[in-house]
Structures are given as C-alpha cells and as structure tokens.
Symmetry: C2
Subunit: 545 residues, 2 copies
C-alpha cells in the first residue's frame, strides 16, 4: 500500500522558488570581477526575488541558444551572482551545469570540457585570455562572457562570443520551471587525482536537494535565515560545499567574494556584510588570520566557519576559538559526496569535559550527517571496530554519494554498494572519524598499517622542518618501511639522527622511519597536493644509511 502524500519531485528549481516566495527580500551580495570596478571593491547587490527573475530569463536564453534538457553547460567563473544564476537557470531548465576549475592546466580544462561535451561555455572576464587559448581545442557552439556590454572586449578571437547581460535582457522573465524525474542529472564536477584522467561526478536533482537538507542541519553547517554566509570555497569546487543551494533553501544572505581571496579582501567583505558563517580550505584561513592578527582586528559578526578540503591543523582551530571566539567546524567530504560526509560538532556528552578533551574531538573530522553511513575495512574487506585506534579504508554510502563516473559505464566503482573513498581513517566509539592517510600512501609494514600523515604531522611540529613527506620504501622482510623526506626551514639545521630521535616516545617504535633524506623541495600538483607517487619513484632504490 502506498502512502497518500503529495508527490513533488525534489528539484533544484524548488530552492530558488522557495527563496523568492519566502525570503524574497534577502540579499545576495557579490564582489564584482569587472575591471576597474573590481579594483574599487564595488559590490553588486540584489535579492533572491530579483535573482529568481534573472534565473528564469537565463533559462529562456539557454533555450534560445539551442540548449536542450541534459545538454552540458560549462562555467569558468568565480563566486558571483551570475554564477549563482547559472546554478539555477541551467539545472532548473533540465540541462546540466558543469563547473570547471580554472586553476587546472589548460590541457586538463579542454580535456574535461570535451569529455563532458559542453555545448556552451560561460566565463568571467578574468578568463578571456584562457578561453581564447582553449577555444581552438573545444567544441562549444557559443561562448558567453559573464559581463555587460560596457565590459566586453573590443576584439576577441572567440567565435560566437556573446554578452551575458545582453542575452538576459533579450530573454523573457516568464518561465515555468519544468517538473521532471528527480533522478535527472543536474550538474557535474570533475575530480582530478594524481594519476589518470579526471573523472566526472554526475549529481542529480534528488541528491542535491537531499544534500542541502543534510548540510543545513544543526550538527552539519547549521544554516538559517539569521545567517549571512560567505563561501570562500569556489563554486567550481563541489558546489561550494552546497552553499549556493543551501542558502536560498534556508533564506540565508549570500555573500560571494569574487576573485580576491587574500586575507584583507575576505576580512573587509566579512565585516561590511556582517558575515556570520564562512567556508573554505585551510590556506585561505591562514591568510585571513595573518591579516587580522597583523592589524589588531576583530571579527564583529563571524561566529563559525567550516574548514575542509584537507585536514585543518589544530593550531588554526585553536587560534580561531581562543583569539576570536569563532567556532571551527572541521569537515570532511569529497566531490563524489556532493561533498559533505562528516562535520565536527560536539555532542551533549562532551558538555562539561575539560576544553582539551573537547578539542581532541574537534581535531577529528567529525561525525556523519544523517543520510551518510560509513565504515572502515581491512585489506580483506572485513569491517574494523570503531575504537578510535584501528584504521582502515573508509567506505561511504548514501543518497548523495556517487555510484559511478560519467561515461565510464563498464567500470565498477562501488564495493558491495559502498563507495571506497581512497582515504584511510579511524572511527571512535562516538562515531567521530579521523583521516590518517590516503589509501595509496599508507605504509604496510609486516602486515600492519602505518599512517604517513601522523608521521608527517609529527615531523612538521619540529621547528627546523618546513615540509615533510613520509613514503613507503620496499623492504625484504617487512614488505614496506617508512622513509621520511624533509625540506628544512631556511636557515635552520637538523640532522638525520636528530630527526629520528625526535620521534622517540611520540609514536610506536616500529612506526619510526628507517631513514630520513633532505631535499630542497617536494613535488606538488597544480592544485597543491603533495605528489607522493613521484616521490616514491624518485626514492625507489633508496638504501637506508
């Protein structure tokens, strides 16, 4: 027997419609990216009601450009109001929004745009040069510059170059969002590993709306109509961690920082727009804290920020709380998870614990949002205990988790219905997860696992160490043993034996690396990830001293 409740598919258009009807006067404020204006710090501001009208104009304009349901529409854009309109105009009319990371190498961008078969590419003014270089390798039928006529370039090599504002002005605001299967693809985002071609996560309307509900919950990002939210995390990166969707769904003010993500710009925008909540990767917050510290400033409205993308150093969490009374939510997720999986909030049981005990919990990546399940497994796939000590491959499950990648039909991605994250983690009895390694970086010594991240963090806590990487080297008896590769701080000295002695008493004896080598720099990817695979190749034949 079926229930007798109304059938409304979960659609992305419902979020902008809701914001219009129930929070129509709430603002979206954007730092402008347009030439001289950008330099003056000029801001664009309008309401959800106005954004909705423009999203509908955009939908009509897309139809005019020949975009049909399920066609891919690419973007190369910063966090701004026109990008926001694309989030709803493109997906709302049934096409697929493909946000591209402009920081990738041009070859990767054209590979991705061609693999996705983007029909039209929307891009910000700052990417004109890049897109002109890419265009000969792309198959787009139109290029839309996200600006007004006044800022269009006098000349350009781009074929069929259109002006966003001109397109919108010519399109009717009368448009009824179509109603269709909630499992329809809504948007896509490619994830680039350190090896192989990028892989496209293909989100659905259902997964996106359910993820918004999960993200807004008090134990996740706790988003409400009392918030002014500034996503520093880019809208080209895993849907800005849901914020471009979740803010209209809860009626939060949205503050979009454009391209200037230095500490001063971020701080001034936060203060002038009374931002209560922000989101980004650790490096952004380092810059912000430096600016605030260096100038004796305070946060007058910011009360919490979510940090993810990579593990957040405890020092950042503590500085935010101790010096500025800002709560850091330490979060973990993946492009393949829409992206949120866990968020580090305390439970009632932590009330009254000494602050240091509370912090031990907050340094972890948090507990799962309702909708996400997770487990850790050993090499044989057997589930490991949640004791905070055992660590294994982290697998996840849920309605906003990837089941496969775009155009890789033959590939088996899931293991028994679970998505293997490629991370290695512990989970404690209260469900708090902590990443200890990437699966491919973990060191397997005598059948037991050693966390390369733990060893690197420890090494980096030595005052003479600027950066450290711990990799596996082959060993005749133990299969693998850890090798530590260190970059010294300028003007600092430390010897191999001093480094090794530093580990004494701090980790299990058999975790201590067999050797230390010093190098001038470590290899990184375009997005700043340590290339351990390259290091492994480099030190393949290394023989310990």
């Amino acid at each position: 027997m079926l229930g007798l409740m109304q059938q409304h598919p979960l659609l992305i258009s419902s979020m902008i419609t809701f914001a219009d009807r129930h929070h129509g006067g709430t603002e979206i404020v954007s730092a402008t990216v347009e030439g001289a204006l950008a330099k003056t710090g000029a801001k664009h501001r309008y309401t959800y009601r106005e954004a909705h009208i423009r999203a509908k104009r955009l939908a009509n304009a897309l139809i005019g450009l020949g975009i049909a349901p399920s066609d891919r529409v690419g973007t190369l854009a910063w966090n701004g109001y026109r990008h926001f309109e694309l989030y709803f105009g493109v997906s709302g009319m049934g096409a697929i929004l493909h946000t591209i990371n402009p920081r990738l190498f041009p070859d990767q961008i054209s590979w991705i745009a061609n693999h996705a078969e983007d029909k039209v590419l929307f891009f910000d003014l700052s990417f004109v040069g890049l897109v002109e270089k890419l265009a000969p390798h792309l198959n787009c039928k139109a290029y839309v510059l996200m600006t007004d006529e006044a800022h269009m370039p006098a000349q350009s090599s781009l074929p069929n170059l259109l002006c966003y504002e001109t397109l919108l002005a010519a399109a009717s605001p009368d448009y009824a969002w179509p109603v269709f299967d909630e499992n329809t693809a809504s948007s896509m985002c490619y994830t680039s590993g350190t090896t192989g071609n990028p892989k496209g996560a293909l989100y659905s309307h259902r997964s996106t709306v359910l993820h918004v509900y999960g993200a807004a919950m008090p134990d996740a990002l706790c988003l409400s109509s009392r918030d002014a939210v500034m996503p520093v995390v880019p809208m080209f990166h895993a849907n800005a961690w849901s914020l471009a969707y979740a803010c209209p769904a809860v009626g939060a003010k949205l503050v979009l920082p454009g391209m200037s993500l230095d500490g001063k710009s971020v701080y001034e925008l936060m203060e002038s727009e009374k931002v209560t909540f922000s989101a980004g990767v650790p490096t952004v917050w380092l810059g912000l804290l430096q600016h605030v510290d260096g100038n004796g400033l305070r946060f007058s409205s910011l009360n919490r920020t979510v940090i993810g993308g990579s593990a957040c150093p405890p020092a950042i969490i503590n500085r935010f709380k101790d010096q500025y009374n800002v709560d850091v939510l330490h979060a973990w997720g993946m492009t393949e998870m829409s992206p949120l999986g866990t968020v580090g909030t305390l439970k009632a049981k932590h009330d009254g614990l000494p602050i240091e005990k509370q912090r031990e919990t907050l340094y972890k990546q948090g507990h799962a949002i309702f909708g996400v399940d997770m487990k850790i497994v050993d090499d044989t796939g057997a589930e490991l205990p949640w004791d905070g000590k055992a660590f294994g491959d982290l697998h996840v499950q849920g309605p906003w988790v990837t089941s496969g990648y775009y155009k890789r039909d033959g590939e088996t991605v899931l293991i028994d219905g679970w998505f293997p994250t490629g991370d290695v983690a512990t989970i404690d009895p209260d469900g708090y997860m902590q990443i200890t390694d990437r699966s491919k970086d973990v060191i397997k010594s005598g059948g037991e696992w050693i966390s390369s991240i733990d060893i690197e963090n420890l090494a980096m806590s030595h005052p003479a160490v600027a950066e450290a990487a711990c990799i596996a080297m082959a060993h005749p008896k133990w299969d693998e043993r850890p090798l530590l590769v260190v970059v010294k701080k300028a003007g600092q000295e430390i010897s191999r034996d001093e480094m090794l002695a530093f580990f004494g008493g701090k980790i299990a004896k058999w975790w201590i690396p067999d050797d230390v080598v010093f190098v001038n720099e470590l290899p990184h990817t375009a997005t700043g990830k340590l290339q351990k695979l390259k290091l492994r190749e480099q030190f393949k034949g290394h023989v310990p001293a």
Copy 2:
C-alpha cells in the same frame, strides 16, 4: 540523462539504524507507566543501540503474529520506549503503524480501529479497561499489553491477550530491515473534525524522512546531538510533531514523559534529565508555568520549546522569555502535514529591532520550512497579496502534505494540487503567516471577511470576560454579521453596551458585532475545541436587540 548517485530509498528504518551506528550510546529515558513504579517516578533508560535491537525483535515478533507488509497495527499508548520501538518495528518491517488517540470517545476509537482494519492492537497498562470495553466491537486478532509478565492482569476478558516483553524475549534480534519503495505507507493518524467521521492521513516512508529533515533544520526545531528532547505532545498525535523520528536521526537524547503531564511531573523530568527542548500544546505549558512560578523554580537546562496545536497566547511566549529566558517557537501544522508547516523564528532582518517589534513577529505562526509552500486565496481561488493584512483560505503544498484520505478514493481533496487547510490566515511580506480564523467560522459581511478569532481575542482581553465566541448570523443586507456570545467571569458584570463600546477604536467599525448575548457556558468537543457550529444552530433565528 540520469545522475550517477547511489539509490537509497528514504526509509524509516534508516533513522534507527543511523542512531544505532552513529549515536549508539545516546539515551532514551522514559517515565514508566507501570502501576506502583509509575507512582515512584521510576524511569526506564537505555540507548539507541539497545532500542534498535528491540525494534528488530519486535519486527520478528510481528511476523510471528502473522503481520504482513501494509497490515495496520494499532496503538493506544503514552510516550514511552515501547511505543518508540513500535514506531520503528512496525513501519520498518513494512507494516503500517496506526497511533490512536485514547482521549477520543470509545465509539470513535472503535470506528477508527475498524476503519483502519487494525490486525493487532498494542496498548499501555492504563488502557486495559478501555480496551476490554472496545474489544467486542473490534476485529483484532491479538491484543498486546505493553508491559512485562509481572504487570500482566491476573484475569482479563480480552481474547488472545499477549505480553509485550514475553513476545520480544521469544523473538530473535537478528533481522535485516527490508528495502522497498519509499512511497510505501508507513503510518497513519486519524483527524476528527467537528462534523462527519474521522479521516485517516496516511504517511509514507518518503514523506516521513523528508519531514524529519525539514523539522530538524535550524529555522524549524533546530535539533542536534547536543539536545535532550522531551515531546510532551503525544506520540498518538501526528507523530509527536516528528520528534520520535527526528531525535534518532540527529542523535538527540529522547525523554518520554509517560502519562503524567502535570506541571510538577513535567518539570521534575525536565530537570533530572537536563532537557533542552520540549514540545506541546499551550495548556501543558500553562500548567508547567504555574508550577514553576508557584514554587520559585528555574529551568536549568531548557532553552527553547515549540508550542503548537492551537494559537499560543502572547502572554505565554512572553512569560517563558522574560522570566525564564526560554525561547518559544510558535508553530503551525496539521495532522495532514506530518504535521509541521511553519515555525516562528526570527530572520537576520529582525536583529536590532526593538523587542516589541520582534515580538509582533514571534506572535505569528512563523514562516514556511523548506519543503512547504503556502498561499492564501479568496472565494474565487485567486491568490491574495502577502501584505500581512489581506486574509484568505490557507492552502499548502509539499512532499509531506496529504493528497487524500485513507479509503476515501472518490473524494477530491486537493484544489489545483494544493491542500486547503480549513484555516484562514494572513501572510506578511517576510512570509510570516498568522491564523485569523477557521474557514467555516469566518464571517462574510458585504463580501468582506471578518476574523472571528480577532474579535474573540479582543473580547477575552476584557477583565469581565471568561470566554467568548464570535459567530455569523444571517443579515438581509450584508449576508452575515458578527454576533458575540460571552461567558462572564464568576462575580464579574458587563452589559451588552459596555462590551460593544469596548471594541471602539480597537477594530474597524464594521467589524464590531451587531449584538452580544451572555450564556453560562459554551459547547466544546471531546478534545476541547469550541463547537461554533452548534452555537450557530442555537442562535440561528437571533434578532439583534
């Protein structure tokens, strides 16, 4: 093109599974309803992990009783841990949980149980006498008393009377929750109007899970794993406003008050279990405030409470805030809405407003939760403006709103896809809704509507008035005109002309009733609702003085 995200139907079993895995150590504490124990204030406590095991035993026991998917299982029970187990054991295995209000007249209960075709009835010890009286009129194949062997009655007229604990002890805890269509019916609740037979709202797994996401949001009930939640609203009333589901889904501690809902019992349980959040109808809070006021007590953990079911008098909202710093969330919903529609939280724009301005907003029933849309329409179905003044029939829409009633297939319930709530309301430009009347009670004078509730509230603010009802009387020129029916306070006097003069300057002149009559008492239903229909009949031929 479909998205490539995992397919997991939204099922009620996922909430107890989630609580077990991610908040397994969090407690459910119940006031016991068992004889001598109840009098001592003894409490039962266990964890979500243990509750999950017992819910799985219950599922096996139900199968043993011959319960098949979609069979209805009735309950007559207070808020307690065994009722909680039924919420998950019954729906989780695919059957339909039918919670029955034991405060209805016995005739109504047997009509409802028979209409639902309940196969088994689970009931608390306090209802043995009631169920013995009902049984000859029912078609249940078993009666399960929710207690242990020690508390089973020595003798009973009930055929096939079983003991809950004995059933569970005999059932295996090994059970895998089945996976099925999320639109499958999960539970039902009858709503009794003032006329006609009760009507059954039939919830689905999908509607229930989506409603939980909506209910947990910061602008709704803001539920988290830091909360200890006490639903005073009964679990037989619209799913205890989602709390029996939402608490496991967010990992909140659940405190179930059993049958003692007097101020002292509620207060002592709140304090001993460090309750942070509670929920109930206005009368419960009046009793609680009386106890707390009268004994010079304080709330040491309670920080907010949701009040709904009927409009909450501003005085209660203010007393909670001014005297005890407890925020009242004024909410509105219906059994047909799972039940939450709107919740009264402030938006960022209210920050810094004078407290009296903020309160004007908080006295309204709140703004819509994402997932619910609403509109007000006039007699012709045309949508009315959101100006806070125009009032019309309130219609709602959303995935947790009823589309029809159980076994009333031929009936058209929706109007253009919207559910007519039977309430009359205003909506202001910020989306805050305020109920002004029931549709059937509104007075239509010269084509314009007059709010009977506004007039009654005003009349009741006169010190000599105990209760007042404003009804329509026929009028040759204006179609209808208001008549005020008043019960005086004991020992107080007020004349017709004094009463009418009291309205002067307080409402529009044409809203002032044409006449006032004084009576000794007003007619009410079994659940305490004013029976205006009866009054209308009584004063059908009334001629104004």
